[in-house]
């Protein structure tokens, strides 16, 4: 299982990119917020669908996969039993910039 750590940022930060022939599965999410205020973290999945009957010229889509708010000084850990599926690029975006708020994402490709 691979893992990546990103700092809280209001600009989406890429955690990992799923290969074309794989599906990404987030299995553990840890947010260590040592900032002075609560921060909301959102896990995004960015991908371009295949041209289809209803949309012959699709554009990139961003789907929200998980939203967690962690209090100041708080540590949030979730072992995701049913996992979160990522189809394209997994991004992490925060409600505030925080160099002392680290998000760890553990994932696999299947």
């Amino acid at each position: 299982m691979a893992s990546v750590v990103v700092s809280a940022n209001t600009t989406p930060q890429t955690a990992f990119t799923v290969p074309l022939n794989k599906v990404g599965k987030i299995k553990l999410l840890e947010i260590d917020n040592q900032e002075a205020s609560a921060i909301t973290i959102t896990i995004l999945d960015v991908f371009t669908p295949t041209p289809s009957a209803s949309d012959p010229s699709p554009t990139p889509v961003t789907v929200t996969r998980k939203v967690v708010t962690v209090d100041a000084g708080g540590l949030y850990t979730e072992k995701i039993d049913g996992y979160i599926e990522i189809l394209g690029v997994c991004q992490v975006v925060a409600s505030a910039v925080g160099a002392n708020c680290n998000i760890t994402v553990c994932y696999d490709f299947e």
Binding site: L20, N21, F47, S52, D55, V61, V63
Partner: protein
Amino acid sequence: MIKLFTETPSLLQPRHYVKFTGKDFTDYIYEGDMFRIDKTQQIIYEQAIILPPGDYTQLDLSSETTTSLGLYPTSIETLYEILVGLKGGKDMLIYIQVPAGKFFARLEKPELFPNPTVPQLRYISTIDVDTTPYKEPKLRIHTIKDLEPIIFIVYNDGSDYEKLIFRFLINKCKITRVSPEEAARIDVYREIEHYEAVR
């Protein structure tokens, strides 16, 4: 020509024979023609499809257009034997048409043909990840040059975007026509039945 097995079928090998049955296939392969496999090469080719819920797309397996997958030989001396495996998209359904607009598998009652947009007809003759798994493919297709295009209609029957990954294991077979005299002496061969013969 298109067949779903209960176990992963074995691949054709050099010195095996194939016989085309049921109907004339093309202008150069007629019903009853037999060929010997001279050489084989195995190629893996993967494709992924992402669809929103309730939507569908078409995959053209032929080599006719720039958007088709190119899973048909361009030489008349080649036969492609293709095992199709699937992973991901647990709610994705596949319907096979050949040629476009005509479902390969259907029941004989006229109104009972597959139709993903009609709930009562949605689950007739569908193929999914359980039917032909990625590592244990059970769907086998044979293609030759100039055969009418085989189309996969892929429908997302789920409630969210889903990604379906196709793994095509292509056994590229170089074939040589066997004379009728020699064919008459061959007892063991694989029958490739025209899709019209079983529809």
